[in-house]
């Protein structure tokens, strides 16, 4: 007999607003249906109300973890429209902050994956060592996660020599810890047995379902935007694309851990070869790019991120499209979660398989400013919401 389990919007391990309905027979998962429409914030419509300079801070809030990638993609998009070229030092500074936020995002994911397979100790250690990267980001950009570092025409702050010393010291500590975590993941049998040949995605399926980022590279396909379509300073800073070919959750863990080590070397290289000169070109406050359109692509920690902008000469973008990596990985997740033939998916594997694509649902959903009162199922407009909150707030003080 089979019945449905909802791994719903409220779930202890996935604070992500999505509903996965699983058709289950005993312990085996037969079918899955993914529904993503819980927090749609209307960001694409939001862009059309903001001029270009204010759009940076909206782009930054698309995703809480990988916001350095979003601001980088946004500012690069506008610079392509304007046809302006940013100074080489700004390119290297952008690369440093992008790679540091990739380290932070991968370490966060590694801890979460350990938590999903029940390995609490590794979760605690990984998240303790992640504090080092967050302190670095806070020293450079002024805020732990929401970096607000890139702006149109360059970056907003410079790296002074003593910040550079701090970076190097923390990176040595991080490298040694990441190597230790990698050994733990490869040696600990309970981790191996929970992640090997779980959530299989064959290379042919990965290409066909347009998987992106570490999910694609864990299935043996050598594709990375930083190598194929190098932006900012990626053509000068050497790095090798990490691929594993066992196509399962174990490979995804190893891809992400190796990428952390790659990022550390990239940051060290760019610190050694940091060109001098100013880090920002003078831009007017209200930017009016000529009419036209442009596509900019960045390798976000979760995969390949695409921004498309069309401007009509005014100070607000005419249309701004954001395609986030998690949206691209959802079809392949559905494929990984259904058992076919001898490949069986158990209920116990659901959190780690879905977690292995490093889902960031807040990137994927974008809805209007309308608050749906689920219980009474009537629609409030934004003003009613404002009036309601004002009323309640007055009663409070």
């Amino acid at each position: 007999m089979s019945f449905y389990i909802p791994i719903g919007p409220q779930h202890p391990v996935h604070p992500e607003p999505l509903l996965m309905k699983f058709k289950v027979e005993g312990e085996q998962v037969i079918d899955v249906e993914i529904n993503v429409s819980y927090t749609h914030r209307g960001i694409e419509k939001g862009f059309e109300y903001r001029d270009y300079m204010k759009g940076i801070f909206l782009a930054e809030r698309i995703c809480g973890i990988c916001n350095a990638a979003h601001t980088l993609c946004y500012t690069q998009n506008i610079e392509q429209l304007l046809g302006k070229e940013i100074p080489p030092r700004a390119k290297y500074l952008r690369l440093i902050v992008e790679e540091l936020s990739r380290i932070h995002s991968h370490l966060l994911w590694l801890g979460l994956a350990a938590h999903q397979i029940g390995f609490e100790t590794l979760f605690m250690y990984v998240w303790r060592d992640r504090e080092k990267v967050l302190d670095l980001l806070e020293t450079i950009t002024g805020n732990r996660v929401v970096t607000a570092y890139n702006t149109i025409g360059g970056v907003r702050r410079d790296i002074t020599p003593e910040i550079e010393q701090k970076i190097r010291k923390s990176l040595d500590y991080l490298e040694e810890r990441t190597k230790y975590f990698k050994k733990v993941v490869m040696e600990e049998p309970t981790v191996l047995v929970r992640t090997q040949n779980v959530g299989i995605l064959k290379p042919r399926e990965a290409i066909e379902l347009f998987a992106v980022g570490p999910v694609l590279r864990a299935s043996g396909i050598k594709h990375d935007i930083r190598a194929d379509d190098p932006y900012i300073a990626h053509d000068e800073v050497p790095f090798n694309v990490v691929t594993y070919d066992t196509c399962d959750v174990y490979a995804r863990i190893l891809v992400r851990v190796d990428e952390i080590l790659e990022c550390i070397n990239m940051v060290r290289y760019s610190l050694d070869h940091l060109p001098s000169g100013e880090y920002r070109i003078r831009m007017p406050v209200i930017v009016r790019p000529p009419p036209g359109e442009s596509v900019s692509r960045v390798e976000a920690p979760r995969g390949e991120l695409l921004h498309y902008v069309r401007s009509d000469g005014s100070d607000k973008p005419y249309r701004y499209k954001v395609r986030t990596p998690t949206l691209a990985n959802i079809p392949s997740t559905a494929r990984m979660l259904t058992s076919r033939g001898d490949y069986i998916v158990y209920i116990a594997d659901i959190p780690i398989i879905f977690g292995s694509i490093d889902p960031c649902l807040c990137c994927t959903g974008r809805v209007m400013f309308i608050d749906i009162e689920k219980s009474k199922s009537w629609v409030w407009t934004y003003n009613e919401l404002v009036r309601y909150s004002l009323k309640r707030f007055e009663r409070h003080d």
Binding site: I5, T190, R194, Y346, A348
Partner: protein, 322 residues
Amino acid sequence: MIEVLYKMIEMILFPGFAFIGVLSLLYEWIDRKFYARLQNRIGPLYAGPHGILQPLADFIKLLSKEDIIPEGADKFLFTLTPILFFAINLLLTLFLPICGTTGVISFTGDLIFFVALLTMISILVYTAGMASTNRFATIGAERAVLQLIGYEIPFMLSIVSVAISSRSLTIKNIVESQSSIWHILGPNFLAFIIFAITAQAELERIPFDIPEAEQEIVAGWLVEYSGKKLALFRLGKDVETLLLCGLGATLFLGGPLGPVVPGLEIVFYTLYFIVKSIIVLLVLTTLRALFARLRVDQMLVLSWKYLIPLSLISVLIVRVVF
């Protein structure tokens, strides 16, 4: 008459329920504090000095919470299971020799009765899950039974190998036979390792907390319980932890035996019992901090392919040596 009264006091007060209740809360505090220290955290801190009253605070909080019975649930079984779960655990603690070589109750062959009731507790977990007609609870209950099949045989065999080496099935004789050397130092070391692993499975802790895997099926068979019933289940689980640590100490570390000042035997025996069972508790907590959670089928493979042959070997060794 005085005899009955004396037995009543023993059962209620000293080595009985009140003492066990306090001790089990203390054990939960030690377990959480040590587990946190292993992970470089602090653990409970604000309730009482160093958070020692935290388990008591949780218990009282649960008592004050609302007690919901889902309408589809089988009411009688739903309310009976927590009470039975807690009662059996308390009853079993009376067998442990705390302030002397014999517990409050002891008769020849009480080890078999002890182990039979232990299996009874796992059956109760199944009825608890089935009584609450929640999807997650049914899956949790199924997993509990699957896990029971996995760890029950090695658990029994490790106890049997101790019984063989002390040539008796009563706890009193087992304790006395260890006055010269503890079982753990002799050929029973392998049996102790198997006992520790299967005790971890019986208590449903990290490598084997599959029936209530918080990440997969929310809270497994405990999902529908709240208020007083959940409080009883939690306290029952604490008492069960104390029970198994005490059993481990009695079978392998010689229970309350040790050099004693003639006048104050009871005090020394109790101290030895507490110290030895805390050692077993720390071993279980280290196990909890070392591993990731297994899947049910992997757990069965582990026990049928590795634990059972190992326990058979240990019984063989003990049979040859003694």
